[in-house]
Symmetry: C2
Subunit: 155 residues, 2 copies
């Protein structure tokens, strides 16, 4: 049952097309040792396996969640150290899950704001706005207000 099938191998360019990350970023992550097992061929060219892609995707997810490179590195190192680090890894993942959820909430909020602005421009273009205010005249922008905390004096 020895497996001599050829494992899939990808160059940096391939990985770039597969993941959407730039070639520069992929090499940068490799230089930072965030993808631990990337091999090279006789000409010193990086060859990524499917496993390497899995590592890379994990790195990508953690970066997107806002984890700095240095801590992604720490996570990878913990993976390499074996099962003893699983509780810490699990904790980290749980934290980043929350970070990411918070981020998504914030992004949805800003998206709503942008949609309102878009709707405003649409109404202005059709000459349908009720009041003819203009951002400059009002020295402002349209839309809802921030919530002002109670303790702030607005005299």
């Amino acid at each position: 049952m020895d497996q001599s099938f050829h494992e899939a191998k990808y160059t940096v360019k391939d990985v770039s097309e597969i993941t959407g990350l730039t070639k520069h970023t992929i090499r940068y992550y490799d230089d930072q040792q965030l993808i631990p097992f990337v091999s090279r061929d006789g000409r010193n060219i990086r060859l990524f396996s499917d496993h390497d892609l899995d590592w890379l995707r994990m790195v990508h997810s953690l970066r997107i969640s806002g984890l700095p490179i240095s801590e992604v590195k720490h996570y990878i190192d913990m993976c390499l150290q074996g099962d003893d680090t699983i509780p810490q890894r699990a904790e980290l993942i749980a934290k980043q899950e929350e970070e990411l959820e918070a981020k998504i909430r914030e992004y949805n909020l800003q998206l709503m704001h942008i949609k309102k602005k878009k709707a405003y421009y649409a109404s202005v273009s059709k000459g349908q706005q009720d009041d003819a205010w203009n951002p400059v005249n009002n020295k402002s922008e349209c839309g809802e207000k921030y919530e002002i905390p109670e303790h702030i004096m607005t005299h």
Copy 2:
């Protein structure tokens, strides 16, 4: 009907608490002239009005959507130029809406990935995993694969 009511005024610290942006960032945005009408008191201290907060929020939304500072500045300048620039502003807003939606889709994707990892750690902690693989032994990370474009040879 002259309005001599006191308009609400906020210091940098207030604005920081209201918006969640750091004091440094708020001053930075002001220095970059992204908040056009911020006033100062006799002691040269910045005083933000509610209108200023509206401008700031717009800046924030555009930044979150991925628009670089230089282009946020351009948008603000267009606002100051009057109604002639509305079509361009509307186009910009529409573009950033799409950017933001794409970003949210990507973030949700990575969130899913992180949730799977979390579930994996939960199952490992309870000793319930079917196969006893370990990231290091497998030189990989758990989870689904990337979609490999057809034209990439994996020999």
